[in-house]
Amino acid sequence: MATLELRNVNKTYGSGLPDTLKNIELKIGSGEFLILVGPSGCGKSTLMNCIAGLEQISGGAILVDDADISGMSPKDRDIAMVFQSYALYPTMNVRDNIAFGLKIRKMTPAAIDEEVARVAKLLQIEHLLGRKPGQLSGGQQQRVAMGRALARRPRIYLFDEPLSNLDAKLRVEMRTEIKLMHQRLKTTTVYVTHDQIEAMTLGDKVAVMKDGLIQQFGTPQQIYNDPANLFVASFIGSPPMNFIPLRLQRQEGRLLALLDSGQGRCELPLGTGEAGLEAREVILGIRPEQISLAGVEGNGLPSIRAQVQVTEPTGPDTLVFVTLNQTKVCCRLAPEFAPQVGESLSLQFDPARVLLFDAETGERLGRGRAPLDTVGTDNIAQFRGR
């Protein structure tokens, strides 16, 4: 297995056209699983094609094991790819599909047979070896496509939205299988998806992309807990983070966010913050699971009464929607405490978990230090244990 590093990679399809990839910088270690995630048109598939060598980069370098491969043709890069459409050779049976790359690399027939058998066993497709791709179901084609990539034992595996053509149930099954496979084989992998759940569950590292730029690169937990900007915060997480536009106030040197539900008001103390913050329009971000029912015993966390407008029971949780500052806000509550529509609830927030974003640029405010007060962090455990 190998390390992969992208240094200042740029891609443009011609002068005058906007750049498809802009200064992409990232590095993953040997055996790591990198996710490229973003909405369609963000450049993630282009980036993958550049790594594979199917498209040439316009600037920068792609390094595998510290050697620049950006000038090499695809066949010399020793990279295998699983395509979204699987791209199985329609006139060949499964065995020949898997063996095609091995034959071209002039392996002996005995070695090819052995390798095909190994891969077929690994993916449990031994009984399908004689069939043509047209006779296979979507899930089976998916396995064969993975088998073709595995058989070559390349330095890096690329997956281009491999699960997006499968039905929901199969997608979850294959997701777990891909993860199991990676844990067992420890292969360096780059995986493109637009599905944030795949990004969170599969990746060691996640690069969130938009408009050809990497918005944030980090572990799934970093991306989830510490998003760099509004886009990352809204893209990762389901149901998505709530965004409440408001203007901060300053009282006795402390920043306050004022929330109004129509039934009550509450002030969230947000620490001292940087100067001038109170004059700006900001967006307050809070995840649905970080809003809880106010407990009976007082724990010092600010709370607010609000009227329930819609409830959506999902089974493990019930999503409850209320209105704060004229914005619809989703709260994720335990089903046993789920209220009825029209009922009035007391909700509480932990100011330490609240994020602030610049309303104009979408950038996180005060990221990387602790501008916000750490009031109530000790009480979180108690509340999350509900």
Binding site: K75, A80, M81, Q84, A87, Y89, T91, F100, R105, R148
Partner: protein
């Protein structure tokens, strides 16, 4: 209930459809029937009977005489048609492969210009072609005629293959490139095996065009190297002696049979190929 009744007793409109179809078939078949009947009649029989009358004595003399007259030219046509069809199909496939899978700067323009060739009337290329053949030292040779047919056919064969390959996912070629396959390996191992329907379309089209060609044959071939279409014309247009319609008809049948045979053998591929790509599987 009503549908099962309708299935048992064809309605009036259904009968009208069948009647129209049968009438159309007859219109097409009558000339063939007349030719076949006449070719097996004796000259006396032809003079006394009418076009559709059954031969009084069935005789093969017309066919024997016709084969004597045009048989040699039949083989000329084979020698012209087979290489011209095969080469133009193969080169057209390669062209189509490049124009769909390995697009280069200006490839769309190139394809557009090539399409022009489909609309050029034969007559317009006669002089430039004969000039070129003269320069190449191929004037009045079978090779020269084959070359003209290949070049003229390329516009069509390229169009067929290019459009067929446009419906083949690009990912197949990309996967093969990552598997280490080169330009010709991908063409030979991945794309050609998928191309049977369009190869059949191309073969039938080119065979029909080249076998039935008269103009290029009469201009670019001379004497004993002429194709059967030219020989047939010479035979039928002889002004000396009595007209032997049975021989003319038999010779025309001999000239037309190979095309007919190709359609019968490969016709199902022809239809399949023409509709391929219309519905994605």
């Amino acid at each position: 209930m009503s549908s099962s009744l309708a299935a048992r007793r064809p309605s009036l409109s259904r009968l009208a459809v069948y009647a129209t179809l049968i009438a159309a078939c007859l219109v097409y078949l009558v000339p063939l029937i007349v030719m076949l009947l006449t070719s097996f009649k004796s000259p006396d029989d032809i003079r006394t009977g009418n076009l559709l009358s059954w031969p009084e004595v069935i005789t093969g003399i017309g066919w024997v005489k016709a084969w004597d007259a045009v048989g040699g030219y039949f083989w000329n046509s084979v020698k012209i048609t087979v290489p011209a069809v095969l080469i133009s199909t193969l080169v057209g496939a390669l062209n189509g492969y490049v124009l769909s899978m390995w697009r280069f700067r200006g490839s769309q323009l190139f394809f557009g210009l090539l399409l022009f060739g489909c609309f050029l009337p034969f007559q317009t290329v006669l002089l430039p072609a004969s000039f070129t053949l003269g320069k190449l030292g191929l004037a009045s040779t079978t090779t020269g005629l084959v070359l003209v047919h290949i070049v003229y056919g390329l516009a069509f064969t390229t169009l067929f293959f290019r459009n067929y390959y446009t419906s083949v996912p690009q990912a197949l070629v990309q996967a093969a490139r990552l598997d280490g396959a080169g330009f010709f390996t991908i063409f030979g191992r991945i794309l050609l095996p998928m191309s049977i329907p369009i190869i059949m379309v191309c073969l039938i089209w080119q065979f029909t065009q080249i076998w039935n060609d008269f103009l290029f044959g009469v201009v670019f071939a001379s004497g004993d190297a002429q194709p059967i279409t030219v020989a047939l014309n010479n035979l039928v247009n002889t002004s000396t002696g009595a007209k032997e319609y049975n021989v003319d008809m038999a010779a025309a049948m001999i000239a037309g049979l190979p095309t007919l045979l190709v359609y019968v053998l490969a016709g199902k591929y022809f239809l399949r190929g023409l509709t391929a790509g219309a519905v994605k599987g």
